[in-house]
Symmetry: C2
């Protein structure tokens, strides 16, 4: 996996969620696809999804419980998890997460 996106646009203004527990910047690929690169600080948060998402973890450690799931699962850097659209997930970040979020 490449450690960087090449030939992309980056929006200078970031996105701040949950009082700054999550900060991301929007990346736009050459074909117009939007992704975000972000950081989640140690916390317990609930994220809601519009479009389906793939959360690709670059570094860090978290415990995730998808809406309707009976069990939670631990993920670390190098792993990914999928979240359905119009849903939500509980995420407990144990070690600061660096992620790429893929939409749609």
């Amino acid at each position: 996996m490449s450690q960087q996106f090449d030939n992309v646009s980056v929006v200078k203004q970031g996105n701040v969620y949950f009082d700054g527990k999550c900060v991301s910047h929007t990346v736009i690929l050459a074909d117009g696809t939007r992704k975000s690169v972000g950081v989640i600080l140690p916390s317990k948060l609930v994220f809601n999804t519009g479009a389906p998402e793939i959360m690709e973890l670059i570094a860090g450690k978290c415990v995730v419980k998808l809406a309707g799931a009976s069990e939670s699962q631990t993920y670390t850097g190098g792993q990914s998890f999928n979240v359905p659209g119009n849903s939500s997930f509980d995420i407990e970040t144990l070690e600061t997460l660096h992620y790429v979020c893929h939409f749609g």
Copy 2:
């Protein structure tokens, strides 16, 4: 001023400073120049510089006092301030800052 960088690379792993009060991502221009896009949450911090920096504020509000300066100055989105190399500055962020940092 453009709201985004175009035709750049972006490092997927972010940079986290001061327990997450400052989160940035590195952007690499086509000519190899490195910049960073970042967010500083409301806080009082002291930043040290290696290379000289130009802090370009995209949004937010802060009060800055450069090392050796007798007075502090207030800056808001749309303004910039210069910091010498091998120096430091006190920055009180009053409203979450979105910035681009230019080095060298």
